[in-house]
Structures are given as structure tokens and as C-alpha cells.
């Protein structure tokens, strides 16, 4: 995949989301309104992501995240959160179809060594959905 721009290490889109990330969790108090939570990655590899989703009528209407990792990990999570929120939310069945490749394409590509960062994003989302589904089963 082609990497745009020569003045930076990543694409313009990665740069934008890395420098001005969207939808990250600003305040722990916000969590109580969310009904799905996922955490993936590990510190050893240098990437760790947490994701909170707010589901109403099987539709994700809001998403928040926190990420420890490199620029591409931060940008991937930010981009994913935008993808979910951009059309006033996303049905769970559609959200489950998002792949690392989709995130990467929207980011204008990632260097091959960084591909795992985008995969981590969709894994965090799946983990949050799974958590929501388990909780709603119990309820």
C-alpha cells in the first residue's frame, strides 16, 4: 500500500488522527453511560487499547477509547471511532464487519510493520461488542 507524503512517516490521515485524536475518553465519569467494554493488546508489545461502546437498540451510538501505543495505534483507534460514529451510529452487525484492513484503508495505509496496530483496533471493538452481548444476555 502506498504511503502518502514524504515529509512524515505516515499518511496525512494518520498524522491528523494522531495529532488530534477524536473520541478518546476524557473523563472516567463518562464510562457509566456505556454498556460495552473491551481491552486488547499488551504492554510487552507496546500496544494496549481500551474501548467503551454505548449500544441502544442494537446500534452503537457512541464510542470512547484509550490507547497506549505508537502513532499508528492511536490513529487507528481514533479512525475506528469516527467510522462508527460518522453516520449517527452503526448497527452491531455492521460494526462486526469492520476489519483491520478497512481501518487501514481509511487511514491511507500503514507501513507493513505497523499493520498489527490497525488489527488491534477492530479487535478492541469486537471485544467491547462481545462484552455488551454477554451483559445483555444476563440482564
Amino acid at each position: 500500500m502506498k504511503i502518502e507524503g514524504n515529509d512524515w512517516f505516515y499518511s496525512k490521515e494518520v498524522k491528523k488522527h494522531f495529532l488530534e485524536p477524536k473520541n478518546f475518553l476524557k473523563n472516567e465519569k463518562e464510562i457509566k453511560d456505556f454498556n460495552g467494554y473491551g481491552k486488547v493488546g499488551n504492554v510487552k508489545c507496546g500496544d494496549l487499547m481500551e474501548m467503551w461502546i454505548k449500544v441502544r437498540n442494537e446500534k452503537i451510538i457512541d464510542v470512547k477509547w484509550k490507547t497506549f501505543g505508537c502513532a499508528s495505534a492511536i490513529a487507528s483507534t481514533s479512525m475506528l471511532s469516527e467510522m462508527i460514529k460518522e453516520k449517527k451510529g452503526m448497527k452491531i452487525e455492521d460494526a462486526l464487519k469492520i476489519t483491520g484492513k478497512d481501518i487501514m484503508e481509511r487511514l491511507g495505509g500503514l507501513p507493513s510493520i505497523k499493520v498489527h496496530c490497525s488489527v488491534l483496533g477492530d479487535q478492541a471493538l469486537r471485544a467491547a461488542i462481545k462484552n455488551y452481548q454477554e451483559k445483555s444476555k444476563k440482564a
Binding site: L48, W65, F68, A71, I74
Partner: protein, 397 residues
């Protein structure tokens, strides 16, 4: 936006005076030093002159200076040169080193293992300093079998300075010799080979405000090496190939300037270094200095910031015009963080969160103040979005 370069340990710019000295040797004085006419004699003399200048600085004989194409090549020549000599005698032997060495040492020795040589790693403490008692013990236990001990003068990542004079004494008392990688040390530390009692020393141009692609191996008379590159009889038969005359002239000038200004520059940079460390420790919570506080290169600051990943910090600082480096895996081509930080016992999170600021000739207090201001903002932001950041938690090493 003004650029603040704090990565002098990666490489330095070429000093004006150095460039000026070298320029005539690119076009006007282009002769091959091996040519038997005036044009050749001109560059032959320039090379002799350069070799003499360096020998004077390093307190050795001119014929003990071998010019190479890089610091890495110089290290390869020292280690493989001894190994190949040993192979030709039908023997093998032991190399002693330690785990925070540059890859040029570690990978070369690792490869030599395939040829039947073995490596013993000396122990280091959590600041990266050699455990001298343990070194003494392994040198004693392997007396007669150790071909060479190679211990760096100062570490490129954490700045820890080794007591190489003492280490050389231990080696000699146990009938072996010492090579030291002095690439980071040459600009600021004593390179008097007699005083230090060193048998081989590596220096390169790109760390002393001279050319990339230039290096030196000081090799004490009597130390026997096989060449890596065969061909003509250049460099006393140890490195064939027409000499890089401008690079050699430049290197001599650079080392001469470094030597002249060493004392003053060391004091100036040390002051800035300690100011930067003090300010970071005061203004940013949960940080950890990597390396030793005093037995440290004057220009090295390496600090781990709890809860953040180094590449993110590096790139955000880069946006503010500040150029630094990190021990995080993400900035390398592998998924492992700095082998140096792991070797001194840092955990992965701490290693991933490390930033190295390496100061240099043009670094000013104003630049340091701006760096601290931007660093504070960068770390605060990255901690805000980090799942690992919990306030008031104790810093784990």
C-alpha cells in the same frame, strides 16, 4: 518553526572548520595517495599529517591508527580480525563483552559464535556499569582462553561511562587485551590510549562533527589482526582500498578541535544535561532516569515516562520542531524495545516509554527550556489518552 536538534548521539553536523579543511581534497587535491607523482604525494602527505595529528591526540604511534569506513567497520575489524587470525592458527577462543554494547559488537560476536567462538557476558548493574569483581572472576577463570575483551567506553543510549582504565588493567593482569568502542566517548572523554592502557579503540567521524562513513581503529603495536578487506597494501595491509582522503583529513581536524575544546565543552554540556534532568524530574511526575546520574556522558539524558509510548512522544515533539530518539520498539524495525534498557532490567513498559535527548555543540539553555515546555504538554496529552496512566501510582523500574 525553529528546529531543535537533540539527537547528536545519532549523528552530528559537520563543523564549518572541518568542512573547510576537507573541501580542497574533493576536487583540487584529488590525487591517489598511492600514486608516484606530485599529485599523489600531495594527498599522501595530507594523510600522513592527519594520522600524525590523531596519533598525537591519542598518544600513540601514527602506524597504530587504521582508517576505516565507519565505526561499525572498525569494530568488525577488531573482533573478526582477531577471530580470523585465531582460525588461521587452527584455534578458537572466548570473547568477553556485556549486553548493552552496540549491535556492531553484539551481532559480530553472535556471528562469530557460528564459527566456533564463544562469548561470555560480563555482569552490569541497573545503571549499566560493569561489575568489576565479576569481570575479574571470569577473566581469571578463563585465563589463556580469552582472545579479547570488548567493553564500550560510553553507552550510546543511556550514556553510562565504563571505567575502562580499570577494566584494561584487569584484562592485562589476566593475560588478555581490551578493545573499546569509543564512538560516543571520543567527543567528551579522554582518548589518551597510553593513560587508559587500551589495546584497541574505535572512533567514528559522524559522532564528532565530521563525515559519516569514516572511522578509526587504534590498534596497539603487537596486536595481530587479519584484514577483512583484501587488495592493496593500504592501511598497513589491514584495510585495502583507496583512502577516503577528505574524510580522513576531516576526521583529524574534528578530533583536534574536540581535544582543544573538550574541557570547556564538557563543563558547558554537563550543566545543560543536569538542568534538563532536574527540570523533567521536577515538572513531570512518574519519570525514571535511565543510566547513572554522574558516571554519564555529558550530553546524554535518557528518561522513561510512565504510561506513554516513546514513538508517540517522539513524533509529537517532532511536530514542535524537537528531534529526539526513543528506545521504544515502535520506532525500530523490530517489535522489541531497546536491548540496552532490557539489559539494565527495565520492564517493557518502561523501556517503551523512554526518550533520549542527546545534546551537542549548538544546544542552548533556551532550547532546553522550550523542550521542557513542549515535553510537558506532550507527556500530559499522551497520558490522558493512555489506559496505563493512573495518577499517584508508584513508578516501577
Amino acid at each position: 518553526m525553529k528546529e531543535i536538534y537533540l539527537d547528536y548521539s545519532a549523528t552530528t553536523p559537520i563543523r564549518k572548520e572541518v568542512l573547510k579543511e576537507a573541501l580542497p581534497y574533493f576536487s583540487e587535491k584529488f590525487g591517489n595517495p598511492s600514486s608516484f607523482h606530485s599529485k599523489g604525494l600531495e594527498t599522501k602527505k595530507a594523510m600522513q599529517n592527519a594520522r600524525q595529528k590523531i596519533a598525537k591526540i591519542m598518544h600513540c604511534k601514527p602506524e597504530e591508527i587504521i582508517f576505516t569506513g565507519s565505526g561499525t567497520e572498525s569494530i568488525n575489524l577488531a573482533l573478526k580480525g582477531i577471530a580470523f587470525k585465531t582460525i588461521l592458527e587452527g584455534k578458537r577462543g572466548i570473547f568477553i563483552t556485556q549486553r548493552t554494547e552496540h549491535h556492531a559488537v553484539l551481532e559480530t560476536l553472535h556471528w562469530l559464535e557460528k564459527l566456533g567462538f564463544s562469548i561470555i557476558y560480563a555482569k552490569i548493574d541497573e545503571t549499566g556499569k560493569i561489575d568489576l569483581e565479576y569481570l575479574k572472576k571470569i577473566l581469571g577463570e578463563n585465563k589463556g582462553k580469552v582472545l579479547l575483551t570488548t567493553i564500550m567506553y560510553a553507552n550510546n543510549e543511556i550514556g553510562t561511562i565504563q571505567l575502562i582504565k580499570k577494566i584494561a588493567e584487569l584484562c592485562h593482569a589476566n593475560e588478555t587485551i581490551l578493545h573499546t568502542d569509543a564512538c560516543q566517548g571520543a567527543e567528551y572523554l579522554n582518548t589518551n590510549t597510553q593513560e587508559l592502557g587500551i589495546d584497541m579503540m574505535t572512533i567514528n567521524g559522524s559522532k564528532v562533527y565530521s563525515f559519516k562513513g569514516t572511522g578509526i581503529l587504534y590498534k596497539k603495536q603487537g596486536v595481530k589482526l587479519e584484514p577483512l578487506i583484501h587488495g592493496g597494501a593500504h592501511e598497513f595491509g589491514l584495510r585495502a582500498g583507496t583512502e577516503n582522503v577528505p574524510g580522513i583529513v576531516a576526521l583529524a581536524k574534528a578530533l583536534e578541535l574536540a581535544e582543544k575544546e573538550k574541557k570547556k565543552e564538557r563543563a558547558r554540556v554537563t550543566k545543560l544535561r543536569d538542568y534538563l534532568i532536574k527540570k523533567i524530574e521536577k515538572e513531570i511526575p512518574q519519570v525514571l532516569l535511565n543510566g547513572d546520574r554522574t558516571q554519564r556522558l555529558p550530553n546524554n539524558v535518557n528518561i522513561s515516562f510512565k504510561g506513554i509510548e516513546g514513538e508517540s512522544a517522539l513524533l509529537r515533539l517532532n511536530e514542535k520542531g524537537i528531534r529526539v530518539s526513543t528506545g521504544s520498539a515502535c520506532s525500530s524495525q523490530s517489535l522489541d524495545p531497546s536491548h540496552v534498557l532490557i539489559a539494565i532490567g527495565r520492564n517493557h513498559e518502561t523501556a517503551h516509554g523512554s526518550i533520549r535527548f542527546s545534546l551537542g555543540k549548538d544546544t542552548t539553555k533556551k532550547e532546553i527550556d522550550y523542550t521542557i515546555k513542549e515535553l510537558k504538554k506532550t507527556i500530559n496529552f499522551l497520558r490522558k489518552i493512555s489506559p496505563l496512566w493512573k495518577k499517584n501510582k508508584e513508578v516501577k523500574k
